[in-house]
Symmetry: C2
Subunit: 222 residues, 2 copies
DNA sequence: ACAAAAGTGTTCTCGATACACCCATGC
DNA sequence: GCATGGGTGTATCGAGAACACTTTTGT
């Protein structure tokens, strides 16, 4: 069976960089490729766009098929189409990135992948295709948007402590922040409210828990 | 002649929103479509990606073919792939935007277009496809990047007056700015230097002319 | 002379930064 | 009792906003 067109067409894929925070380190989800090209290499989850499929739908579908992750928030990152990025043929990929709360996911290897695994962003294996470029850009965007959006909240769940939230900011920025200034900053955003409970059990004083005041519209400040 | 593949593929195009400032108004370049679909409608210049063609190369080529414009600076905007955006088939378009200096271009109608013309961004005809959405996003991006990049300089040429530069900012932001604050701001950027000449001839006092201190690396502040 | 645009400083406000100590809890 | 993280206020600095008059040129 084959599909024929009057003019040649490049193939189109989506690739997704899923970030989370594990063990206080920024991490990304990769799959081990089971087929050519780059068999045995690690790569971003992703795959070909199906007929009449929206790009974001494709990204969500591939993510579920290859890793079992569903229902995440996605943002389009950039479209990569340099000839030669796939050695077989001209493939244009629309890259997305996703943020998931820390330690909240059960992975399963899917049909297209031998294995799916989290890697620390600063300790990656050699990646297939131009996926390292995609990750470099994604990481850059993540850091930039931290300052003018509320994307950090995507890494945590309701009933978080301000200490946890602060550590998300610190991990993405790669530097320590002043605790009092940070708390002032968070309160000035006006997005969080006291959940009325405390987090018991860890070392140290019990921490007040917070939740999002408007869990829905949670984007772009400034 | 036809081109056949083992799996179906969407078509891929690039579209380009070229902005300039004419008569103190933000304007965009459109072409009148000569063929179906949307024959007779106005649309963004753009067209299909050729085999092994880089996306940006495609955008530049289509822009030249359809409007005669060459060598402009491009930035990738967003990739649109909603099924149904082209009534014939699934077409994914990678949208770019370009900024050209005011009153600097001679247009010519190209092979694929009956006509190419500048339109005021606030006074557009009904556009083909989802090109109005693309323009809405482009305009939004333009306004946002004005504040954290030096993109405004793309609208002017060397030997500009600070009044001219200020009017670029005012036109994109849609509001008047204070002259003294604006001059302080520009000097703090450290990107412009006195060209040593004055602009004679207009009404009012002759204005000092400036040029870019580093015409090359002209991007991203903050 | 007058219309039109160029050019020039100071004050205020607000957000960002720097900085140190006591408190509650688990072990 | 001690180690660990939670919680709190004040002073300083710098960028951005508000604000009005004089100068030069063309007509």
């Amino acid at each position: 069976m084959s599909f024929c067109y009057a003019y040649p067409r490049p193939a189109v894929t989506t690739d997704i960089a899923v970030f989370t925070i594990r063990n206080q380190r920024l991490s990304v989800l990769l799959i081990e490729r089971g087929g050519d090209p780059f068999c045995g290499y690690w790569a971003l989850p992703g795959g070909f766009v199906e007929p009449d499929e929206a790009l974001e739908t494709c990204a969500l579908r591939e993510l579920e098929e290859e890793t079992g992750i569903t229902g995440v928030w996605l943002e389009q990152l950039y479209t990569f189409g340099t000839p030669g990025r796939d050695p077989r043929q001209h493939v244009i990929t629309v890259a997305y990135f996703a943020l998931v709360p820390m330690e909240s996911l059960v992975l399963k290897a899917g049909s297209d992948a031998n294995d799916a695994q989290w890697f620390y962003i600063d300790d990656l294996p050699k990646l297939a295709f131009d996926h390292q470029d995609i990750l470099d850009l994604a990481r850059h965007r993540l850091r930039a948007k931290l300052d003018y959006s509320t994307l950090a909240f995507r890494f945590i769940r309701d009933n978080f402590t301000l200490g946890e939230l602060q550590s998300v900011y610190e991990i993405i920025r790669g530097e320590a922040l002043d605790k009092r200034n940070f708390r002032k900053f968070v309160k000035s955003l006006g997005l969080v409210e006291d959940a009325g409970y405390f987090k018991q059990g860890g070392p140290g004083k019990a921490a007040r828990l917070y939740r999002l005041a408007c869990p829905d519209q949670l984007y772009y400040t400034r």
